[in-house]
Symmetry: C2
C-alpha cells in the first residue's frame, strides 16, 4: 500500500501537470478542450450507455436522454441491477414522476409504493449495503487526479466520527468527479495505530449537476436501481455517501431539467397527466445509429490545463480570476466522437 | 478600523452560536426554520421587490417571478438604474431571450444590440466601474456571519495579483450570500505595510442559484441593468467580482428554470417565437394584493443552527453527515409572511 499512498499524496499536493503546447494560445477552457489531441480522448463503450426515450414533447419533438453508467469500482451492484432492469424492459412504460426545482428529476414506477399495483421486479437483483456507497481503495484502484487546490467544504472537516474521511480530496478518476480519502488519515494515524486497526482508504463519486443516483427509502434500504434521479440544480453534495450514484446524463439533460416542476410535496406530480412517460430504455449497443461519445481523459495534460482555466478565467470577459474552482464547476468534457 | 477587524476575525473563526432551545427536537434544516421565533424574521419592504409577469404559459397559467433587490452597500448604482427602468416601464414588452442549461436565464430587449432598433434607455442612468463589483468595508458595513467552517475554493487562494482577497471568507450579510476579505490580509500585511498602502477590506455578493445579475459586454462595460439574468444551475462562482449582482428570485424561479433551453449559441433562442414575452415589471409597492415576504435573519441563532443542520444532516434519511457545506448550498430561508 505504501507506494499507492505516496502516489496519492503526490497527486494531491503536486503542481498542475505541464501545460500542453497549445496553452500559450488557448484562452478559454473551451479552447483548451478543442485543442486537445485525439490521444487524450477516451471512447465510451456503447454498452455503458443507457438511451432513455421520453414521450414526444407537446410540440411533437423527440426527447432522448443518454446516460453513461459509472465505471468500476463504483456502485457496480446497482449498475448490474440496472442492466437487468433494462434487459427485462422494466423501465418501458414507467414515467418521470418528480421534478423538484434546484434539486432532482426522478423517474420510475408511479405505482411503485402501492402494494398490488407495483410493477414486479425481475428476478436476480442484488441487495447492496450502505457500505457500498464508497469503494475501498486497493492497488487496482484507477488513477486519481486531485483537483487543483484542494479546498472542499464537504471533505476537509468531515465527520469526526469517521477518521477515514479526514484529509479527503476532491478530484477525478476515469472521467468521473470523485472524492478520495487516503488510506492513512492525516490526523492521529501514527499515534492511534489506525493502520494497524485496518482503517482503509475509500473513494466515492460526487453529486454534481447531471449525475444520476438511486432513489431509496430509509436506510438500511439502499434502493434497487429501479427508481433513478438526475441532479438538475446546485450540487446536493450532502447526498454523497448517502445514496448510490450510478451514472450521469451526457446528452439531453434539458429534457429533464426543463420539465415543469411538480407541485406536490418535494416536487412529485399531483396527477398522472403531469408525468412524462418513458417510452423505452435501452443500452447503447441496442440502438442502431446512436452517436459514439468520448470524454477527455482526466489524467491528461489538457485536462489539467482545462481545470486551471476554469479556476483562472483570463479570457476577455473576465477581469478578476477566482484562483480556484469547486469540483462540480469542472464538468468533464464529453462530446460526440467523429466516426 | 481595528474594532471592526477584530469583530470580523472573531466571527470568521468562532464556534457556531449557541443553539436555540428547539434544536434538541429539530432534526432537519426545515424543522429549525419552522421553529424560529417571529423575532428572528425580517420583513422585506415591498419597495425592494420587483414583480415580473411573464406571458401566460401554453396552458394559460400565469407566470409571476418575484425578485428581491439587493441591499446596500452592494451594487447600488445598478439597483438605482433598475428602479429607473421599472419606473419608465422600460421592461414591459421585452422578453426572456436566452436560457442556457445549468447556467442562466436572461431577459431584456431582444433588439438591444441592433442599432436603430434598440429600445431607448431612459435618461439619467448611471455608469458604474468594475471596482463597483465589490463594496469597500467600512465601519457602517452591516454585520457579516461567516459560514460554519470556512473552506471555499473560490476564496482561499484567490488571485496572487490581489492581496486583498487572501483569507476571504464566505458567509452571509443581511440575508445575502457574501464573501468578505478582511481589511488586513493574513499574508505579508505586516511586512509589506499593506495597511499603510491603503489596502482596504472588501465584500461582494455571490453567484448562487437564483441570484440575479447584470448582463454586460466586454469590460470596461459594466452593464446598465437593462439586461438581467438569473442563475438556474450550479453556482457559476467564476462570475463573482466580474459581474454585478443586483438581487435574487424569491418566488417563481421555476418559470425561468423550466423554460425550454435556447438552441443558439450560449442558449440564445434562434427565433422570436421561442422567446417568453415579459408583460410587465413593477416594484412590489405598485402591485395590489402582493404577498409580504420575510427572510430568516442571518445573524440569528436559528440561522446558525440551520447552517449546522445543512452541514450535518442527521435526520432519518442520512447515514453519513458531510461535516461541511458550501455557501451556495445554504439557501437563506424566505417565506410569505403572515399578515
Amino acid at each position: 500500500m505504501r507506494t499507492f499512498i505516496a502516489g496519492l499524496a503526490a497527486l494531491a499536493l503536486s503542481a498542475p501537470m505541464a501545460a500542453p503546447a497549445n496553452e500559450q494560445t488557448a484562452r478559454t477552457p473551451g479552447d483548451v478542450v478543442d485543442a486537445a489531441p485525439a490521444s487524450e480522448w477516451r471512447r465510451i463503450p456503447a454498452s455503458d450507455l443507457l438511451v432513455m426515450d421520453l414521450a414526444a414533447d407537446p410540440r411533437g419533438q423527440e426527447r432522448r436522454v443518454v446516460i453513461q453508467l459509472i465505471a468500476a469500482p463504483f456502485s457496480q451492484g446497482w449498475v448490474s441491477n440496472i442492466r437487468k432492469l433494462v434487459a427485462a424492459r422494466w423501465f418501458d412504460g414507467t414515467a418521470v414522476v418528480r421534478v423538484q426545482d434546484n434539486y432532482v428529476a426522478q423517474w420510475g414506477d408511479p405505482d411503485g409504493e402501492i402494494p398490488g399495483k407495483a410493477r414486479a421486479l425481475p428476478r436476480g437483483l442484488s441487495t447492496m449495503a450502505p457500505s457500498d456507497y464508497t469503494a475501498a481503495i486497493s492497488k487496482s484502484t484507477p488513477p486519481f487526479t486531485a483537483l487543483l487546490r484542494g479546498e472542499d467544504p464537504y471533505l476537509t472537516h468531515a465527520g469526526t466520527d469517521d477518521r477515514r474521511v479526514l484529509g479527503a480530496v476532491a478530484g477525478f478518476s476515469q472521467g468521473w468527479p470523485v472524492a478520495m480519502a487516503p488510506p492513512t488519515p492525516r490526523s492521529a494515524a501514527s499515534t492511534t495505530g489506525a493502520d494497524a486497526q485496518g482503517v482503509a482508504g475509500a473513494a466515492w463519486p460526487l453529486h454534481c449537476y447531471g449525475m444520476v443516483g438511486v432513489g431509496r427509502n430509509l436506510s438500511p434500504d439502499t434502493g434497487t436501481g429501479a427508481e433513478l434521479y438526475a441532479v438538475i440544480g446546485h450540487a446536493p453534495r450532502q447526498l454523497d455517501r448517502n445514496v448510490a450514484l450510478v451514472g450521469r446524463v451526457i446528452s439531453g439533460i434539458e429534457h429533464l431539467s426543463s420539465l415543469p416542476r411538480g407541485t406536490g410535496e418535494i416536487g412529485f406530480y399531483k396527477t398522472a397527466g403531469e408525468r412524462t412517460p418513458i417510452v423505452s430504455v435501452r443500452t447503447g449497443d441496442e440502438v442502431p445509429g446512436l452517436a459514439s461519445y468520448e470524454y477527455l481523459s482526466t489524467d491528461s495534460a489538457s485536462f489539467a490545463a482545462y481545470v486551471d482555466k476554469r479556476a483562472n478565467r483570463l479570457d476577455d470577459f473576465y477581469i478578476q480570476p477566482a484562483g480556484g474552482v469547486d469540483v462540480c464547476n469542472v464538468p468533464v468534457p464529453i462530446r460526440e466522437a467523429k466516426r
